[in-house]
C-alpha cells in the first residue's frame, strides 16, 4: 500500500502521508461564477454568483438536493462547462478544458468496458506518454491501493458496482492529479457498500493529501467525509451555507452516533429544509 511509485516529480518528495495544509498544490478558487445554459426563452441559470476558496488538501463536500446545480458547479472545475461569468482557477491557472491535473470520478460507471482493470488504470499514464513500464507499475500501485490486485486482469463487467467505482478512483489518481472531483460517486451503490467505500476513500485521501471536491445529496455522507460541507440550494443554484466539520480524524463509521456528528447533521438538515420551504412557498405564491 505504501511506497507509491511516483514517476513524475509531482506533489512532494515526502511520503504520501503528506496531507492537508502541508500539500502545496490543489488550491481551487471559484470567483463569481455564474453558469447559464441555453439561449433566449429557454435560458436557464444553473449556478449563480458563486465564490469559493478551497485550500490545498481539503476535503470539501457539496451537498444539495438533486437539480440544484452541484454537477454543473463541479463540471466547471473539471472543465466540461465554461462559466458564463467569473473564473475558476487551480493554483492560479485558469481552467479552460478538462485535463489530467484534475481526476474525475462519475456516478455512472465510466470505466472503459473493453479494457481490463489494469488497462483502465494505466490509460491516463499511457495517454500522457509516460511509457508502458511506468504506466503499468503506476497502475499496479493504484490497483493495490484500492484493494483489487486480484482483479487486475478482469473486465469491468465482471466486477460489482463498488469495485468498479474503486477502479474509477484508482484510474483518476493514476495521473497524480492536483484535485480529485467526485460527482455522487457512491450514489448508485447500496448503503452497505457505500459505507465501505466512504471509509476507504478517507484512507486513500489520508495517504494522498489531495484536494477533494465531493458532490452528494446525502447529509450523512457529506458530514462523515468532509472537512467542510457546502450546502447548495436550487433556483438558481448557489451556496447557502459553509459548514466546518471539526470532527476528529481518522473517522470511523461509529462517529455517526456522536453528539457532534448529530449536531452538524442537524445543522445541514435545517439549512436545506429552510431553503426547500422557501422554494416551496415561492412556487405556491
Amino acid at each position: 500500500m505504501l511506497g507509491l511509485v511516483k514517476p513524475m516529480p509531482q506533489p512532494t518528495e515526502e511520503t504520501p502521508r503528506a496531507r492537508n495544509h502541508r500539500a502545496s498544490e490543489g488550491h481551487v478558487e471559484i470567483q463569481n461564477v455564474s453558469i447559464t445554459f441555453g439561449k433566449g426563452s429557454k435560458q436557464h441559470t444553473a449556478v449563480t454568483e458563486t465564490s469559493l476558496d478551497i485550500p490545498p488538501g481539503e476535503f470539501v463536500c457539496i451537498l444539495g438536493p438533486s437539480g440544484c446545480g452541484k454537477s454543473t458547479l463541479l463540471n466547471s472545475v473539471a472543465g466540461y462547462v465554461t462559466p458564463t461569468t467569473g473564473s475558476v482557477t487551480i493554483d492560479g491557472e485558469e481552467i479552460k478544458s478538462p485535463g489530467p491535473d484534475r481526476g474525475m470520478v462519475f456516478q455512472q460507471y465510466s470505466l472503459f468496458p473493453w479494457k481490463t482493470v489494469k488497462e483502465n488504470v494505466a490509460f491516463g499514464p499511457n495517454i500522457l506518454g509516460r511509457g508502458k513500464t511506468v504506466a503499468d507499475s503506476t497502475a499496479q500501485t493504484f490497483i493495490e491501493m484500492v484493494g483489487l490486485a486480484k482483479f487486475a486482469n478482469r473486465y469491468p463487467a465482471e466486477l460489482s458496482g463498488g469495485m468498479q467505482q474503486r477502479v474509477g478512483i484508482a484510474r483518476a489518481l493514476a495521473n497524480y492529479p492536483r484535485v480529485l472531483l467526485m460527482d455522487e460517486p457512491f450514489g448508485a451503490l447500496d448503503s452497505q457498500t457505500r459505507l465501505m467505500m466512504q471509509e476507504s476513500l478517507l484512507k486513500i485521501w489520508t495517504e494522498f493529501g489531495i484536494t477533494v471536491l465531493f458532490v452528494t445529496h446525502d447529509i450523512d455522507e457529506a458530514v462523515f467525509l468532509g472537512d467542510r460541507v457546502l450546502v447548495m440550494s436550487a433556483g438558481p443554484g448557489k451556496i447557502i451555507a459553509d459548514i466546518k466539520i471539526d470532527l476528529p480524524r481518522p473517522r470511523s463509521p461509529d462517529i455517526a452516533l456522536d453528539d457532534d456528528f448529530m449536531r452538524l447533521k442537524k445543522l445541514c438538515h435545517d439549512k436545506i429544509r429552510a431553503e426547500s420551504l422557501k422554494a416551496f412557498e415561492q412556487q405556491n405564491a
Binding site: 466540461y80 455512472q108 491516463g124 463487467a157 466486477l159 448508485a188
Partner: protein, 321 residues
C-alpha cells in the same frame, strides 16, 4: 440473413448504457449477478469476491453440455422432418396450388450433388463466386467502415451523405443490373460492384450507429485523463462502436451474397448463381436445388466466418454476460 430491412441490429450493449443514472438499479444492471452482492461488505474485498463456486460451475458445465446436445438434436431432427416432407411432397406429386410435380426429389438432388462434387467445373463456379464476394466485400468493409465512422462523428458529413444513402439503400441489387452493365467496363466489374453495394449499406449504417452510441461519460472520462481527439477516437469511440460494426459486417456479408446471385443470374458465365439459373435453362432440375443449397451454405458459412473473425475484438463483451 434478413435483407436490408433488418440492418440496424442494436449491439448487445453490456454496460454501455449511459442512462444508468438511476440510483440502486445501476448496481444490478452492471454487475449482472456475477458477484455476490454481499461481497462488498467485507473490509478486504480482494479476499471475498473470489467466485468460490468451482463445484457448482462444473455441474453447470455438464448441464450446459447436455442442453447443447438436446438443442442440436432438435435442430437436426427438424431438418430431417423437412427433408422427409419434401420427399413426400415430391413422390406424391403434390399439386395443391403449389406444384411439386417438377420439383426434384431429395435423393435425386443428392445424386446430382455427388456428381457435381466429383467433377471440377462445380468448384470453378464456387471459386468464381467467392472471389467476387471477397473483392466486393473487401471494398465495402473499407469504404463502409470509413464512411460510417466519419458520418457518426461529423454532422456535416452525415448531412451530406445521408440523403444518398436514404435514396440508394432501398434499391434492390436486381434493379442495379442494367445500369451497372452500362457503367462498368467489364461484366465482372459490374457484378462485383453490385456485390459491393449490397454489403456497403448495412456496414455504413451500423458503424455510424455504433459511433453515435458511444456513451458520453466515457468520452468525458477520457478527456479528463488527458486524451486528445485522435486518442479518444482510437481508444473510446472505435471500441465502443465495434459490437455494432461487427453486426454490420455479418449482415453485410449476407446481403452481399444476396446481391451477387442477382448479378450472376443476369450475366456471366461462371458463378454459383449462373450455375443455378443455367440448370433451369438446361431443364436440369436437380442441379437447381444443388445450386440453391450451395448458395445457402456458402452464405451461412461466410457470415459465420465473419462472426468468428470479429469475436476476438469483442471478448470484453462476452464477459458481461
Amino acid at each position: 440473413m434478413a435483407a436490408q430491412g433488418a440492418i440496424i441490429e442494436m449491439p448487445k450493449s453490456g454496460n454501455l448504457d449511459p442512462s444508468q443514472e438511476a440510483r440502486g438499479d445501476g448496481e444490478e444492471t452492471t454487475a449482472q449477478g456475477l458477484q455476490p452482492a454481499s461481497a462488498e461488505s467485507s473490509d478486504h474485498p480482494g479476499n471475498t469476491d473470489q467466485p468460490a463456486e468451482t463445484a457448482k460451475s462444473f455441474q453447470l458445465a455438464n448441464l450446459l453440455q447436455s442442453e447443447h446436445l438436446v438443442r442440436w438434436s432438435i435442430r437436426i431432427a427438424a431438418l430431417a422432418v423437412g427433408v422427409l416432407a419434401w420427399h413426400w411432397a415430391t413422390t406424391a406429386n403434390l399439386n395443391f396450388y403449389i406444384n411439386f410435380e417438377n420439383v426434384p426429389e431429395p435423393l435425386k438432388v443428392w445424386n446430382a450433388f455427388v456428381a457435381q462434387i466429383s467433377g471440377t467445373e462445380f468448384y470453378i463456379h464456387i471459386l468464381v463466386s467467392m472471389q467476387r464476394i471477397i473483392i466486393g466485400y473487401a471494398f465495402a468493409v473499407a469504404i463502409g467502415i470509413g464512411l460510417g465512422l466519419i458520418m457518426g462523428r461529423s454532422k456535416l458529413a452525415n448531412d451530406i451523405l445521408m440523403p444518398y444513402i436514404e435514396i440508394l439503400r432501398p434499391i434492390p441489387a436486381v434493379a442495379w443490373i442494367p445500369l451497372a452493365i452500362l457503367m462498368w467496363p467489364t461484366e465482372e466489374a459490374s457484378i462485383i460492384y453490385i456485390t459491393f453495394l449490397g454489403a456497403l449499406f448495412p456496414i455504413i449504417l451500423n458503424t455510424m450507429h455504433g459511433v453515435e452510441q458511444t456513451p458520453e461519460v466515457l468520452i468525458r472520462a477520457a478527456r479528463s485523463l488527458g486524451a486528445r481527439q485522435t486518442q479518444i477516437f482510437r481508444h473510446v469511440v472505435l471500441p465502443a462502436a465495434l459490437p455494432s460494426i461487427a453486426t454490420g459486417l455479418a449482415v453485410g456479408m449476407g446481403v452481399s451474397w444476396f446481391s451477387l446471385l442477382a448479378g450472376e443470374i443476369i450475366s456471366g458465365q461462371y458463378g454459383i448463381g449462373y450455375f443455378t439459373w443455367n440448370a433451369y435453362s438446361l431443364i436440369n432440375y436437380p442441379d437447381i436445388v444443388v445450386g440453391m443449397l450451395c448458395i445457402g451454405l456458402l452464405g451461412t458459412g461466410s457470415t459465420y466466418a465473419v462472426r468468428l473473425a470479429t469475436r476476438p475484438f469483442l471478448k470484453w463483451q462476452e464477459k458481461a454476460r
